[in-house]
């Protein structure tokens, strides 16, 4: 029948087109290293709306090299998806992109980013610069940073604990007041990788060493995981903490149900807000997180700035990045956008210290912060960690099983990528 013949011919053409398209390599042309001109800057939505005024300042000074700000979705995963889709297709939609600190290796290894060695990183926290470095070259320049705090109830505890043993002792106070003792971000997601990494680092261990080899079969890693697992077993960490992301923990702490909470600085402003639903509004203290034998090592958070390989105006992009790292811009990032800046000198500014009470604690935390492993397959790495640690937290796997399992799985992933 004629119609079947026509359909068959159409099918053959579609197949042929599909095969041809499938075989062609993705990736558009290389951009221009010396180019100057208008650029597009993409990052997750600016929560305050003040970033645009910062950009307007730049645009006023550079009328031929205007920056267009494109907002990506709020969730980090979706930002990553948008960037991956675009870089994979070589579509060149973005010139400058805000990358989470853990994406550097992933993006750089796939040759999607421009090396940024000629950008001056003096005066920035070394750990933030390290988070943007892959294979010895800077690919993502520090933009803003983050570290975790221990929030505690000043009406119940005079001084924050500095070691895990002290924390366990203070849990008696929590029991006496019929509230839960400690919680962090312990649901099965990136936050668990952050908390696990913190626990291991705070015990003096590491997930990977400086050569990239996985080091989880150590007594330090064991101590770190035991802190979390035993916390659940002893009831110091409530069972429901296994469903906590950042907001659930904040809710528990704000409603007076927790003595200690590990969380990011953002909680401070919200929990001390007058007129809100925080019942502990004037009873909140902040301290660096405790470790096994002394102060702990918080996990480094934050965002870096990278330039897409496909950008035609890379010189403008580099200048824009330098602009965002300048002291004035960083100051604005702290005061207007509410994000911890990467320029360390700002933390010593007495004016700023007055207006932002946690600034000194934050500086201490940042100086001791340790980044998560730089892995080309970071996503797979982190997913494996959060899945296996989650099972251990729920008592479905022993500490030893979990660590030896992670040791071999993570080593395979690190070698295979």
């Amino acid at each position: 029948m004629k119609i079947t013949r026509i359909l068959a011919t159409g099918a053959v053409f579609t197949v042929a087109a599909g095969l041809m398209a499938g075989c062609s390599s993705s990736g558009g042309g290389e951009g221009s290293a010396d180019g100057r001109g208008p650029i597009t800057f993409a990052q997750g939505k600016d929560t305050t709306g003040k970033l645009q005024s910062l950009i307007d300042d730049w645009n006023a000074d550079h009328p031929d090299e205007e920056v267009k700000f494109v907002e990506l979705p709020e969730s980090a995963d979706e930002q990553r998806t948008a960037l991956v889709q675009d870089f994979q297709a070589g579509a060149g939609t973005y010139d400058v992109a805000g990358l989470d600190v853990v994406w550097t290796a992933e993006f750089a290894a796939r040759d999607w980013l421009v090396p940024l060695d000629d950008i001056d990183t003096d005066g920035l926290f070394p750990s933030t610069v390290a988070s943007g470095t892959y294979d010895g070259t800077l690919f993502a320049a520090p933009y803003n940073t983050n570290a975790g705090f221990l929030y505690y109830r000043t009406d119940l505890v005079d001084q924050a604990p500095t070691t895990w043993a002290e924390l366990a002792e203070d849990c008696e106070i929590a029991k006496a007041n019929s509230i839960n003792c400690y919680a962090g971000q312990l649901a099965q997601y990136e936050g668990l990788t952050v908390n696990f990494s913190e626990a291991v680092n705070s015990a003096g261990g590491s997930i990977v060493d400086s050569t990239g080899k996985v080091t989880l079969d150590t007594p330090e890693a064991r101590a770190g995981l035991e802190f979390l697992v035993n916390g659940f077993a002893d009831g110091d960490i409530p069972a429901e903490a296994v469903t906590y992301q950042e907001e659930e923990g904040r809710r528990a702490f704000q409603s007076g149900g927790l003595l200690f909470l590990r969380n990011w600085p953002y909680v401070y402003g919200l929990a001390t807000q007058e007129g809100g639903d925080s019942v502990v509004q004037d009873k909140i203290g902040i301290a660096p997180i405790p470790g096994e034998n002394g102060a702990g090592a918080s996990t480094l958070g934050g965002y870096n700035l990278a330039i897409a390989k496909t950008s035609d105006h890379q010189q403008t992009a580099k200048d824009f990045i330098t602009f965002l790292e300048s002291e004035d811009a960083q100051r604005s990032i702290l005061t207007d956008l509410g994000l911890p800046p990467v320029r360390s000198s700002l933390y010593d500014d007495s004016e700023l210290q007055e207006s932002i009470p946690y600034l000194a604690t934050l500086k201490e935390a940042l100086e001791n912060a340790v980044a998560r492993p730089q892995a080309v397959s970071y996503n797979e790495f982190s997913k494996t960690i959060s899945e296996d640690v989650y099972k251990a937290l729920q008592g479905d796997a022993s500490v030893d099983e979990t660590l030896s399992g992670l040791q071999s799985k993570l080593q395979d992933i690190a070698e295979g990528s």
Binding site: T4, P73, E246, G276
Partner: protein, 285 residues
């Protein structure tokens, strides 16, 4: 043929009515309770989102104001959603009706194969389609355009539209079409004036379902409408944010959900009579 006494039936019906209304109430509560919680949550102050009061102790419209605040451009997003969903529905329904007509009324070889192929198009996970489509659209300059969302939406809607319309057209009394032709109408007139009115419940139902599906599409839209000028409501909501990247803007999201649902409910209220009553057939003279 036994003829039951009419009186015997009526009393039984009356007591059943009471239970009937109880049943209706249960179903209405079932459908609305979570939506009620959504509305209540949106009316609580942004910093009171954690409390579990069933009736909000104080009503605040801050969340609704936040939805329409400067950075979100939500009014524009509503307009974009209307354009995208509207275009998708009109085109998909027209094409669908023609295709369903061909598949039910015309005999040709390969008809079952075509039905199967159309159905198979609904069997792939959306993410499988995403990357190649993005690359294609980037290459032909369709990023940030309406058609980049309308065309994929049409292809998601067509299988549903065609299969539903096909199953309704199959049940139509086609003898009437024959009769109309005998009376001098051509194929198109017979279709338009006799069959289409009878198929109205199915057509209007499919129209509503297609519109809602297109209105709620997210995956493709979020990746191809990047600069926000053509973003529909679903993408705008995904960009809502609290005071930091970690704060969940729950109140604002719920308020936006309420706002995004209202046009659809109005649409259904307008069309619901058409769904059930159809149009009295002009087909019978």
């Amino acid at each position: 043929m036994a003829i039951a006494a009419p009186n015997a039936i009526r009393p039984r019906r009356r007591s059943a009515d009471g239970w009937f209304y109880v049943g209706v109430a249960v179903l209405v509560v079932f459908c609305l309770a979570p939506f009620y919680w959504m509305v209540v949550s949106s009316l609580k102050a942004p910093n009171a989102i954690f409390n579990n009061d069933i009736l909000p102790s104080s009503i605040s419209f801050e969340n609704f104001a936040a939805v329409f605040s400067g950075g979100n451009d939500f009014a524009r997003a509503l307009l974009n959603s209307a354009i995208i969903a509207g275009s998708t529905t009109i085109i998909a329904m027209v094409v669908g009706v023609f295709t369903a007509y061909a598949l039910t009324r015309l005999t040709f070889r390969g008809r079952n194969l075509i039905l199967a192929v159309i159905l198979a198009a609904s069997m792939f996970p959306g993410v499988a389609i995403l990357t190649p489509l993005y690359e294609l659209f980037a290459r032909i300059g369709w990023i940030n355009t309406y058609q980049a969302m309308i065309v994929p939406n049409i292809s998601f809607a067509l299988p549903l539209a065609i299969w539903t319309l096909t199953s309704f057209f199959r049940e139509m009394p086609w003898e009437l079409e024959q009769a109309a032709k005998v009376d001098g109408a051509n194929r198109a007139q017979a279709f338009r004036m006799i069959i289409l009115p009878l198929a109205a419940p199915g057509v209007f139902t499919t129209t509503i379902l297609v519109f809602i599906a297109a209105w709620n599409e997210y995956l493709i839209a979020s990746n191809v409408s990047i600069d926000g000028s053509t973003s529909p409501v679903t993408v705008a909501i995904a960009k809502f944010t609290g005071s930091s990247q970690f704060e969940q803007p729950f109140g604002t999201q719920m308020a936006a959900g309420v706002i995004a649902t209202i046009p659809l409910v109005i649409l259904v209220l307008l069309f619901q009579r058409r769904i059930v009553e159809g149009l009295t057939a002009g087909g019978l003279k």
